[in-house]
């Protein structure tokens, strides 16, 4: 791999879009190395990116608990957990650098949980049979992001990173076949302009908000990635979405988002539903033998700790059978009564106090007294822009890190692995691999911002933005987003089948047409205008939703978070078709939303033998 010598690094400019774990760690590290970095976020401060909301923890194969963990075991668990749809080499590298990440974060002052002797504590998490998860109460994401953000702000202070807040990337500039810059809109003044660099790094997160209701933050969107896709970057595996098993069920139509309850709760909570369809008694009056602990019964080895996809689908099955609980019968119980009896209320409070408090705030119910009600919700997207081993997309000079790329989680992500991947990419992978791309460009200048290649894209963006203000229809952006979300949830949700997907492919485009004709965006483009920001994002979600349906239709197998009802084992588990689908599907934009071209990358498993996942 080629290197850029220290004195030459200052001659290279790099754009980093997004300041979550992947973006902040990448921008900080590139700045430390001496590159000239421009970082962009649409938030008012880099610290607000949605990595902040991750609760549970981060994996690291330290084997501090002496329970037999190793780099190989983390690698193996991640490949298996991803249902053999990720690249072995990427996953092995991820497991290797998981060790360095923990060191780095502790060095920064991240306050991970500790034992009385002062050493780090670990817990088992989301289906792992070793305790390799480092955690910081229920706010590991916030603490890790504050670490990366502090490193980033140190570079801002040092002048190596130029920080652009409240600035949203709306397009990519590709010139002579390579990514040369981006076009952004200042969200306060509405000013649209270009920024150029030797390389562009997207760290722009996932596309879960295509479902409207998800655990993502309100502003999370696919626009940066989607615009890059429209400029030639391949979009891989858009059908892979993780539906997280433990979220608070929706309460009504005005629900704006769903709140996740860390799955660490499954370590002590028992999941059940009443056996009777018309159970009307108080929870405490339902005798043990009339409760259906469906995970414990079906999966004795893993019990309540089965991987997320398995836990989610089983919850859907019992709710669909009419066994759901709560006023809308749209949840299952997560019950702490036994744990409280065993360990005492204080111990449970120490472990989950802030989560219990959050639950009480939202529902008005006290989980120390009665069980929580939970139901699956869209949480994380394993698909994303296609990247090679060096995290570069097929567009030279365009790198993609964190949730925005597709690379490490296959068809299902294990708990506590998202934080690990974001930081791996940003701290320990991209800073080296980007040098390999930049080294031969020594002496080349960046594209002049007055170049027609920039001006054309700037005009495109300005016109597109203005266009939405002139539609003057009758319905709000949120209305259309909500309707789109219902289609995506119903037809490309936890279970997919051919009929449903075909239905989605006919209904999404017609809803989109209506959206383009009838959306109402008020106000102006030269001022803070949240509806105007949203409308462009929703427009991109419409196109992505269509591709997602096509990808799900073409992948006629079940794997991880992608469950095709046509492809299941006699016990109802996901049945892979390795002969025909042991590959990555990478879609090339074809000029319209229905003309994308499917490319494949074969997945070769030299180290982890392909087996049917079993958690019995």
């Amino acid at each position: 791999m080629k290197l850029v010598n220290p004195a030459n690094k200052r001659k290279f400019e790099v754009i980093v879009v997004g300041t979550g774990l992947a973006g902040a760690s990448a921008a900080a590290t590139l700045g430390e190395l001496g590159y000239k970095v421009k970082a962009f976020t649409y938030h008012d401060s880099p610290r607000r990116a949605h990595s902040i909301a991750a609760q549970g923890g981060i994996n690291g194969a330290k084997n501090y608990q002496n329970d037999g963990d190793s780099v190989y075991r983390l690698f193996y668990d991640t490949v298996k957990g991803g249902d053999y749809r990720s690249r072995e080499a990427n996953v092995h590298r991820l497991a290797e650098v998981s060790l360095n990440i923990i060191d780095q974060c502790v060095g920064q002052g991240v306050p991970f949980a500790r034992e009385y002797g002062g050493l780090l504590d670990n817990r088992s998490f989301g289906g792992a049979q070793v305790s390799r998860t480092f955690y910081a109460r229920g706010q590991t994401g916030q603490q890790l992001l504050l670490g990366a953000y502090s490193a980033l702000m140190r570079q801002v202070g040092a002048g190596s990173v130029e920080m652009h807040t409240r600035t949203e990337m709306l397009d990519l500039i590709v010139h002579d076949g390579a990514a040369r810059g981006i076009v952004v809109r200042d969200l306060i003044t509405g000013d649209v302009r270009s920024h150029t660099a030797h390389a562009v790094v997207l760290a722009t997160g996932g596309y879960g908000n295509v479902y409207y209701l998800s655990t993502n933050a309100m502003a999370c969107n696919v626009t940066a990635g989607w615009r890059a896709h429209r400029r030639g970057a391949l979009f891989a595996n858009p059908c892979y979405t993780q539906i997280h098993p433990t979220c608070i069920p929706a309460s009504d139509e005005f629900q704006s988002k769903l709140t996740l309850m860390s799955e660490s709760l499954r370590n002590d909570g028992r999941i059940w539903v009443p056996k009777s369809h018309d159970e009307a008694r108080l929870v405490s009056d339902i005798p043990e033998d009339q409760r259906y602990y469906y995970l414990e019964e079906k999966y004795p080895a893993f019990g309540n700790l089965v991987p997320r996809d398995v836990a989610s689908r089983n919850a859907k099955t019992v709710v669909d059978q009419g066994l759901g609980v709560g006023p809308l019968k749209n949840g299952v119980y997560l019950d702490f009564a036994d744990a409280i009896k065993r360990d005492g209320e204080d111990a449970i409070r120490a472990r989950y106090g802030n989560l219990f408090q959050m639950y009480e705030r939202i529902t008005g119910e006290d989980p120390y007294q009665s069980p929580m009600r939970i139901y699956p919700a869209t949480h994380y997207t394993m698909g994303g822009l296609w990247v090679d081993y060096e995290l570069m997309s097929n567009v030279p000079g365009l790198f993609v890190v964190g949730e925005a790329n597709f690379s490490d989680h296959g068809a299902n992500r294990l708990g506590a692995s998202a934080l690990m991947q974001g930081l791996a990419d940003g701290y320990f992978v991209l800073p080296y691999t980007i040098g390999n791309y930049l080294a031969p460009l020594l002496g080349e200048s960046t594209l002049d911002e007055s170049d027609p290649a920039c001006a054309t894209v700037v005009n495109d963006v300005a016109e597109r933005t203005q266009k939405w203000l002139s539609v003057n229809g009758t319905r709000s952006v949120d209305w259309f987003h909500r309707e789109l979300g219902k289609l995506v949830w119903n037809f490309i949700g936890m279970e997919r089948d051919k009929n449903g997907l075909e239905k989605a492919l006919s209904e999404i485009p017609s809803l989109r047409e209506e959206f383009e004709k009838d959306v109402r965006v008020l106000g102006t483009a030269d001022n803070l205008n949240t509806s105007l920001e949203k409308v462009g994002r929703v427009a991109d979600f419409f196109e992505l939703a269509e591709l997602k349906a096509r990808d799900a239709l073409e992948r006629n197998e079940s794997c991880g978070g992608h469950f095709r009802t046509e492809s299941q084992t006699p016990e109802g588990e996901a049945l892979r078709d390795d002969e025909n689908y042991a590959h990555v599907a990478a879609w090339e934009w074809g000029g319209t939303s229905d003309s994308a071209v499917r490319h494949t990358e074969e997945l070769v498993f030299d180290n982890v033998p392909l087996t049917q996942r079993s958690y019995k």
Partner: protein, 258 residues
């Protein structure tokens, strides 16, 4: 729907930093007690758009009380009536049918209004930039278990690190002081062994940057009352102590144990 509420909202509308603001009165109906305060605003905005009026700009993102984006004065209280709760986690069951609710942006000279209920809190980032970090370039950290941290110290540092940077402490303070935010950020690092080498320069730089932007602390304690994460006032005392010490520490001798 049963049990729904009808509410009168008096909302601050202001088109930009240089424009004159005003209160507008709106009525919202069929508000369910299970809605969050921001979802109630979603309903208001949906109504406004239907009526051809520009929606109210109100900041929010995670809606889980952790990102610190949201925040406004609700009936004169930062983040509203429920203790230890950010605006997004405030639910309508805390209000009663027929209530009038006054909603204003954070008020502090250092937080100018951008539009309606949205303000500019960038001075908080300037304080972090001045020293809110431990200098540990990527790759240079020793093994994570090399430095044991006594549990009490780790837990206290955590209590400080829980700050979400929302700015409610500044908004609630009669002096618009940022002592609670700054001291939480200073003490998160100063309490840990990893934070010792830069302890005195960090304290000095962050406190002095804070003073460029914000008012002075006169120990009212309103900040703690408003804080959604209940950051203890103790951190302000610890920081004052560290600041005084920072002025007389001979930094050439810091390698000595005492």
């Amino acid at each position: 729907m049963e049990n729904t509420m009808t509410l009168t909202l008096k909302v601050w509308r202001q088109n930009g930093p240089a424009e004159t603001g005003r209160f507008e009165t709106y009525e919202v109906n069929e508000i369910s007690p299970d809605m969050s305060f921001l979802e109630m605003f979603d309903v208001l905005n949906e109504n406004l758009i239907n009526d051809g009026e520009e929606p109210v700009e109100i900041a929010s993102d995670c809606r889980e009380g952790i990102c610190g984006t949201c925040g406004c004065m609700i009936n004169g209280q930062a983040h509203g009536p429920e203790k230890a709760t950010a605006t997004c986690q405030l639910h309508m069951r805390k209000f009663t049918d027929g209530d009038t609710i006054i909603v204003e942006p954070w008020q502090a000279a250092s937080f100018p209004v951008i539009k309606d209920l949205v303000v500019d809190r960038s001075p908080l980032d300037r304080i972090i930039e001045a020293g809110g970090y431990i200098t540990v370039p990527t790759g240079s950290a020793p093994d994570a278990n090399l430095i044991p941290v006594p549990k009490d110290a780790a837990d206290t540092a955590f209590d400080a690190a829980a700050c979400i940077g929302c700015g409610a402490c500044v908004a609630a303070c009669p002096n618009s002081a940022a002592q609670l935010f700054t001291s939480a950020k200073v003490q998160h690092l100063n309490l840990l062994p990893q934070g010792q080498p830069e302890r005195w320069s960090r304290t000095e730089d962050m406190v002095e940057t804070m003073e460029e932007y914000f008012g002075s602390c006169t120990n009212h304690g309103e900040c703690h009352e408003a804080c959604p994460k209940e950051i203890p006032l103790d951190f302000i005392a610890y920081t004052n102590r560290d600041y005084i010490k920072s002025k007389r520490k001979n930094r050439k001798l810091l390698g000595q144990s005492s």
